[in-house]
């Protein structure tokens, strides 16, 4: 210490005297500081808590996470004249654009019954995952001031961002319900299945959000790339077409299968089969196999109702298992991955 002060060219004799007196008072003596700290039970301030302790801390901050999500949601549209209406208008306009292009101009409906409801359900559900992915990949950079101001488990932030999107989706779901009912779909008990489907999707999004938050914190290049990755994903997940009606895939059951078990397609199918009776009844394998009717569907590729009599690639219960599997795998991997870098998020 004394030498260092001299190296710096400190103000001469006064420095030496004071530094010497400070050394005499220092309780450390000759003991290494790390041992002194250990002796008095002090903990490293930047130490990472254990996985379980971290989860507990996160649970203790649940009110903060909820409050954060709600407040952000309220603040999001304060600058807009129409305010909270945009929560509903944005997905509606999205749906209108896709309906115009894919439903009317390109005619990708290929005999999908009630295409309008089919399309809008797909877009709303996919939009939840899409928004969650894009916002969480930026959450650490966006919240640097908050991270540097207050100590709290950083996982609060990506989880909060996913909950913001979930709240938005719930508003959009009310609109969706009105549209779906107005297209002539009946209100059935199956609608209740939309709740567990959304919960599984939210868990999946939280897991992936944690994963992406860490990736995005490292390099900004990643969050620049994210919109393109998500868009490619959307076009391959049967949002605006039915995967099983793609002619070129007819003889490639493996590819069809892989497309159908990808998480986005799984969550979309679950939602469609819950609230759209026409979809549920047309799901391949949902009716006893009938060679004649199935052949009719395969031959003409049109009347999707007949596809219910074909052998399905996936049954409904398999679909639920895949949904639960994706949710659990994403949550575990994402949580551990995010936690591993917990102490590094403050670094600029």
């Amino acid at each position: 210490m004394k030498e260092r002060a001299r190296d710096q060219g400190g103000p001469g004799t006064l420095t030496d005297e004071l530094v010497a007196s400070e050394l005499a008072e220092a309780p450390a003596g000759g003991e290494p500081l790390a041992e002194l700290a250990a002796r008095y039970g002090l903990r490293a301030s930047s130490a990472r808590p254990g996985l379980l302790a971290y989860a507990t801390q996160l649970w203790e901050r649940r009110h903060f996470i909820m409050g954060f999500a709600t407040a952000r949601n309220v603040a999001m549209y304060t600058e807009a004249r129409l305010g909270q209406l945009w929560q509903v208008l944005t997905p509606l306009l999205n749906a209108a654009v896709y309906y115009l292009i894919f439903g009317i101009i390109l005619g990708t409906n290929r005999g999908v019954p009630n295409f309008l409801a089919f399309l809008i359900t797909g877009i709303f559900v996919f939009n939840f995952t899409q928004r969650a992915f894009i916002t969480t990949s930026r959450v650490i950079t966006d919240s640097l001031p908050l991270i540097r101001a207050l100590p709290f488990p950083r996982a609060c932030l990506p989880i909060g961002y996913v909950l913001i999107e979930l709240e938005q989706l719930i508003a959009a779901m009310v609109v969706l319900a009105v549209i779906v009912l107005s297209t002539g779909e009946p209100l059935t008990w199956y609608w209740l299945l939309a709740i567990p489907a959304l919960m599984l999707q939210a868990i999946f999004n939280i897991g992936m959000g944690l994963f992406l938050a860490r990736l995005g914190a490292g390099a900004d290049d990643f969050s620049q790339l994210m919109p393109f990755i998500v868009r490619t994903w959307m076009y391959s997940s049967g949002v605006m077409y039915s995967i099983q009606t793609i002619g070129t895939l007819k003889h490639h059951p493996t590819i069809t299968y892989i497309l159908q078990i990808n998480p986005a397609a799984v969550f979309i199918s679950l939602m469609r089969n819950s609230i759209l009776q026409t979809q549920r009844l047309a799901w391949p394998g949902s009716k006893p196999y009938n060679a004649a009717k199935c052949a009719l569907y395969n031959l003409r590729g049109k009347n999707l109702e007949n596809s219910a009599y074909c052998h399905g690639t996936l049954t409904m219960s398999q679909l639920w298992l895949y949904a639960a599997g994706w949710a659990v795998v994403a949550l575990v991997i994402g949580f551990v991955f995010f936690w591993q870098a917990e102490t590094r998020y403050g670094r600029g």
Partner: protein, 266 residues
Amino acid sequence: MADPTVVVDDLHVVYRVYGAGGDKGTAATALMRVLKRQRRPSVREVEAIRGVSFVVNHGDAIGIIGRNGSGKSTLLQAVAGLLPPEKGCVYTSGQAALLGVNAALLDDLTGERNVVLGCLAMGMSPQETKDSYQSIVDFSGVGNFIDYPMRTYSTGMAQRLRFSIASAKSHEILMIDEALATGDANFRAKSHEKIMSLRGEAGTVFLVAHNLTEIEASCNRIIWLEKGRIMMQGYDVPGIVDAYLEATGGEPRKRDKPHDSEPHVA
């Protein structure tokens, strides 16, 4: 000898600054850089703290002085565990609370939301938050502005609200970074009182201030930082303040009476 509450062991903190210039910033130059496998020239490393060690005991109130950019705020952030150390380590007896100018809350939310979220983020329960809400708002004195978004606040008002939120909870280790610099005289007097009572509960207080009178009035120990290293430290507060003033070209302070550091509660 009182028990140590904070041990800082050979601490180094490095900032990585992106976009620090040095590049023409066109796509072509960026491409050449990637092809030549060069590091981004725009990434600069700034060594803000270079090897600082000290031990702080229960009941200490430590003033930290130094020129702008000498690493005072960085040191506090590292002690609070908000900035990870590059090398070395900081040990603390509990979570340190940092009150700072940069303690940005959520700008586009109302003051009311910020009070609630701030309390919840500090780990208070919704009931505790509800109970202390009114006293926080009253103490801050922002009045009707509590219903407005924080971006409409003046610097002083935002500061007052932040201080009020952070001081709503008693902390074992409290660090105040220029938190009172922009308040008006009335608020400074109120918050000095609050600091003293918090110090009584907290045990350890760090105070960063350019106002040396405030340091001398509140601290029994002082650390002088210069370019990320400790220049001087010790319990002779007026002595070090004078040496600091001499080095920075200021006049030595005139004191009415021999200075005694504040009595502190362990």
